[in-house]
């Protein structure tokens, strides 16, 4: 079956623009995670969903970042009024597990966001 897909793969936004990044998890996966990965760094946790419930959004860097997963499947990460420091690769991962220890996350290829 298909893995985790993300779209667009690349996005260039002018500072101040709003962007929406989409994640299609593996079908049936309960848990969904968003990470931000700066160049040369490891991924940093942004937020976590279990089905449609956003259980942890402690990693969202500011109130300009918003994520949703209204039907417990596809998720959208929205960034309002983008800033240059938002430039990064945004990774989505899903897991079939619903426990608090969701090991074996399956990652998508990421969306590379460049804010000019």
């Amino acid at each position: 079956g298909a893995g985790v897909s993300q779209s667009p793969r690349y996005k260039v936004a002018k500072r101040g623009q709003d962007v929406a990044l989409r994640c299609d998890p593996i079908s049936g996966h309960v848990s969904l995670f968003w990470y931000q990965q700066a160049l040369g760094q490891g991924p940093e946790f942004l937020t976590y969903f279990q089905n449609e419930a956003q259980l942890d959004k402690s990693g969202l860097p500011s109130d300009r970042f918003f994520a949703e997963r209204p039907e417990g499947s596809v998720s959208t990460l929205k960034i309002q009024r983008t800033q240059q420091e938002d430039s990064a690769v945004y990774l989505c991962a899903s897991s079939p597990k619903r426990t608090a220890q969701p090991y074996e996350q399956y990652f998508g290829p990421g969306t590379r966001l460049t804010v000019t």
């Binding site: 040369g40 490891g42 940093e44 976590y48 990774l91 991962a93 220890q101 090991y103 990421g110």
Partner: protein, 111 residues
Amino acid sequence: SQQGEEDPQALSIQEGENATMNCSYKTSINNLQWYRQNSGRGLVHLILIRSNEREKHSGRLRVTLDTSKKSSSLLITASRAADTASYFCATASLYGQNFVFGPGTRLSVLP
């Protein structure tokens, strides 16, 4: 801020040699995992070691965990050019629902 710290940051070896990467972390963990990331791609899960385990093997991979030192190592034996990638350790805390990744080791295996 990231909990894990890998060293070295970059490693260059010849095909056939062994590659060892280390990871240190700060808080108590439930498990530690290693992931590989090829350039421009997502992360691929390699191996998981639980906090009550000391060593684990998977094919050419060997992972050790020393909870007293809060450190782990990943050994890749008989490396191949296809092993060229960045390798990240990720820790899952006792209470958290997410992973904390280190900054990664960039491994280059030269043919």
